[in-house]
Subunit: 246 residues, 2 copies
């Protein structure tokens, strides 16, 4: 391996250029340099981001830009979303320490890992959180939680640095190597959502959105292999064929 | 003890009011509220510090002001100085983690502990570092060390919380009580197997047994809740209804 493999940090819809630059500095303080940016509010490139990043400007030059979070994580097999509020989604909640231990383990096994950071103030949308495999929650003071974007990036990057010296052994399912990546899970979710829509599953109307999100959340929460994904596509396809035969 | 005993964070000759306010916020994020300030450049109180501290303003109101670092730490038995550069002084160098473990131990034994932060840019003077019992050095990227004052405060406060915090994070999903039991998984497997049989999924014939086993294995391998199981039954039932409507 010529290149150490590192987690990708994804900033979703960041608003202020200064915060993007500060996030780059926070990453580079702990040796992380793979940034992806989803739909930055003020366009790209961003002068204020460059000014703030100073010595970490390379991260911005090399940052990959996408329109959606789904595109940004399509090649990743472990997607961790930082958020204060799981908001009723069933999803494992990890501390930064646990999350970076897990990331290190998966990366050592050849997987690609993304850590997602939502926009300032608003945070990630539930539809975005539903696409993550687990949540990272920093255990802050319950009466005063005021971490800004760059501070949140800093703490997770710090934990990456702390963890990567250590070898973590955690039990994963057998069959290890071919986990489905986020792009494959996204397509599986699309397939089910589309067919179940046609079948009239999302009813009543006012519950349709939350039913869709729960179904979406289910696929990303489960540890699915590529073979599992093929089988789940196959199950659905066969039901449609059966219907069409009448 | 009516009051939990916490380490004191001492800002030595801080320059910008904004940074004092940001340091207060960083401390209070992790439940620390004892601040001392040595000879702030722009006097005291400082409006910009108050504006930046917002929800953590109480720390500034209660902060103890002194002229010298020696006065600020006079009542402390363990003094830890944060600095990037030990500069040739013979002094134990601790990581933030080691430092907060030591602090917790000493506080538990009834001692008073201070953590010292130098001014922006210049950092602590050698005379000040000489008055500390040990140095805290954050292991940053050797080619890019750009932590600002509040970030340095944040990382040490975070380690205090990690070493002493009561916030417990679970590796398992929340709501742990309603995992589907084996009987429920069995019924889910029966339901899919039966319907997929009718739909002609298990084809060709000689592969039918292994396909059934793989599908059965999928359900039992996944960490499914009772709600997941209901949804997966619902998906299948709806497909059948759709077919029957023709």
């Amino acid at each position: 391996m010529t290149d150490p493999v590192l987690p990708v940090f994804v900033l979703v819809r960041p608003q202020m250029g200064e915060n993007i630059g500060a996030a780059a500095r926070a990453m580079w303080n702990f040796g992380l340099d793979r940034m992806r940016i989803v739909a930055p509010r003020d366009g790209w490139p961003n002068e204020k981001a460059v000014a703030m990043a100073s010595g970490a400007g390379r991260l911005l030059d090399e940052a990959q830009l996408t329109e959606t979070m789904a595109e940004a994580v399509a090649d990743c097999t472990l997607v961790l979303a930082t958020t204060a509020r799981p908001r009723g989604l069933t999803k494992p909640v990890l501390s930064p320490e646990q999350a970076m231990a897990l990331a290190a383990e998966r990366i050592a096994a050849g997987e690609k890992v993304a850590v997602i950071f939502g926009p300032e103030r608003a945070g990630l949308e539930n539809e975005e959180i539903a696409r993550a495999n687990a949540i990272i929650s920093v255990p802050v003071n319950p009466v005063f939680a005021s971490l800004n974007l760059a501070q949140c990036v800093l703490l997770v990057a710090y934990e990456w640095m702390r963890k990567t010296g250590e070898v973590v052994h955690e039990l994963r399912e057998p069959g290890g190597s071919d986990w489905a990546n986020a792009g494959e899970i996204e397509k599986l979710g699309d397939h089910y959502e589309q067919r179940m829509e046609e079948a009239g599953f999302f009813f009543p109307e006012h519950k349709a959105d939350s039913m869709k999100m729960n179904l979406r959340n289910l696929w990303s929460r489960l540890p699915l292999t590529q073979a599992d994904v093929r089988m789940l596509h196959g199950v659905l396809r066969q039901m449609v064929r059966w219907k069409e035969r009448g």
